[in-house]
Amino acid sequence: MAITAFLIFVAFVLGLSFYLGQRTRTSSGYYAAGGQIHWVVNGVAFAGDYLSAASFLGICGMIAVAGYDGFLYSIGFLAGWIVALFVVAEPMRRLGKYTFTDAVDAKFDSRGIKLAAAISTLIVSIFYLIPQMVGAGVLVEPLLGIPHHWGVIMVGAIVITIVATAGMTSTTWVQFIKGSMLIVFSSILVAAICYRGFTTEPDQGGRVPVHEYATLAATEADSRLTVAEPGWEVVETHEDAAAKAAFAKLARDGRQTWWLISRTDDGVALKETEAVVVAANGTTLINGAPPSAENALRQVGNIEQLRGETDVKSGSISPIELLAGLSDKDTVVKRWKKASFTDADGGKATVYYPTLTRGNVLMRPGLKFKVQGTVLERLDFVSLMLALFLGTAALPHILIRYYTVPSPAAARKSTIVAIIAIGFFYVLTLFMGLGAMINAVINPADSNMAAPLLARSFNSLLFAIISAIAFSTVLGTVAGLIVAASGAVAHDFCDRYLRIPMDDRQKIRAGKLAAFSVGTLAIILGIAFKGMNVSFLVGLAFAVAASANLPAMMMLLFWKRTTAKGIAASIITGVVLSVGLICFSPMMYGQFGLDPTTAPIPFNNPGIVSIPLSFIVLVLVSLSTKNRNSGVAQPA
């Protein structure tokens, strides 16, 4: 059923694209849908453009595993729209033609700005494209049963077709349909979560038996671990410094499994985990046996206690009751963490182990972002919130949507529709994430599938629809990004920077060729970055956009002394600093197998350094070049 829903959706969007493609005759039609999209449609398309795989799959998954900290992304992503509405929307619509570069260059006609802004657009779009393509592969792999790289190629080919046939017009309608469906069916999913209510025995409506994870009593003397129950043999133990946890490999009936060593004042206990071990010879074992349909990682996440009670089946509850119940200090939720290490046989072990978290801790920041940690860890949190707040209004694929409506007032009104739609969806993310957390639907190896798996716990039809929507989420955002990136290459660089003479038909052809090239690059990168953290890369795109584009836009609008050289220098400074700081951050070191503690930059989110420096460079360069620059900005 999921495959049928998926195929129907793909056939529909391709048919729509070919139909609209016959009506796209001008470059204005290709890049800006002729500037004639209705503001309500544009507003919902904004939501469809913005609510990417990171919003739907990533945030729900992060809330499911890290509680309230995932919701911080929802808050920051939505807050960014305030900057877009109050500061950027109407002035950008008045200044620009097709792209971000047009807007910042409108009063200068500077080759330096054209080049810098085109590079910035391309880099931000590509960094944003990579996680979308990786997400597409992750989604299609279980849905259609095809390898990750074929999933990425298929998604890339469909999106290139959508963009190359009708450009912004087909992209707008795909985003409109996707945005509408996402909000409607997410609401249905939240209603289903509340209807099911709380239960300490999450059996997915009786379809999946609840697995009781075992606990074994043990003793420890002279660093030697012994299991109290007969029949169990301790093969090896492992103290994992990174996870700050200890594990024991036990053998019984010829099967070896990993257990968490829990040391308390009451003694030592061993708690059952889930583990994937890739042996030195390449064979994979899941919980000590070869993988099969019957032997796969179990889905996890449940309530252990609700307000101190251990045997709960509440029946339907209100959304407020859901939040209140989980916030209670006497509510305890079982979450799962991950530890990766090499075992004594040289095998690569990945152990997923349980941890109990109280509701009062779960429902406030702190599990992922260390707001009670060191000064640097706290600054990292501030830096993230800053980049999320300032990044949205500077994303090129969002900015180009201001040019698809007929007037600045329509740009403002479509932004308000977008804020209402996106705000409502982000409220829903908290319920969907928490619903996944307590209904035993989290795949411990990949939290990104939390929302679709939550839908499957209700019924197959909802799963099919939610999967099709998740896929359309990727399609809609990737289409917008490819339009933005192709505009940077064909319009900003070839047409305006290199000044290659082209008539209108040639401009459309150049745009389509650029879309094909960028789409092909996205496919290659999507395959190359398989397994990389999706949210991390999206965060990088926000940080680069906030550092490179926002200072230029803000100062252009509000500081009369801004010069062309100041803007170009600010954009380049923002791009180089933000990308450079992230390349040498602990998280990037960890991604490439290096020791994160040796990273020269001690924080992961660069915004707190790169955004102010980009502003400072713009001011200093503008002041030093104001007498030599003929194109000083006029008030907007």
Partner: protein, 97 residues
């Protein structure tokens, strides 16, 4: 050669009013958003306090930031529309307050 907008729109006499209102509303939201970040940094456990219908401060403040953004957006649009229509009726007065 300067680049022209995708579709031409006439002069906007209300633009000065809208810019000023937008900046003030932006600063107001910044203040509320900064308050959220500061409480988390200075006193994270304050976020655990139950403040409304059994929900804690973190949930209420976080949801509040989203709802506040929507309310501000609607108020801003309402004010802009009123000013635009008022100036459209009396074009000679221009965009000054």
């Amino acid at each position: 050669m300067l680049h022209e907008p995708a579709s031409q729109s006439g002069p906007d006499p209300a633009s000065e009013f809208k810019t000023r209102l937008g900046v003030w509303m932006f600063l107001l939201y910044c203040l509320v958003y900064a308050g959220f970040v500061v409480i988390n940094l200075v006193s994270p456990t304050t976020m655990e306090l139950t403040v409304l219908w059994g929900m804690n401060l973190a949930v209420v403040y976080g949801m509040g930031l989203i709802i506040f953004a929507v309310i501000l957006a609607i108020v801003y649009d309402f004010a802009c529309r009123r000013r635009e229509s008022a100036l459209a009726d009396t074009p000679a007065k221009g965009g000054k307050q």
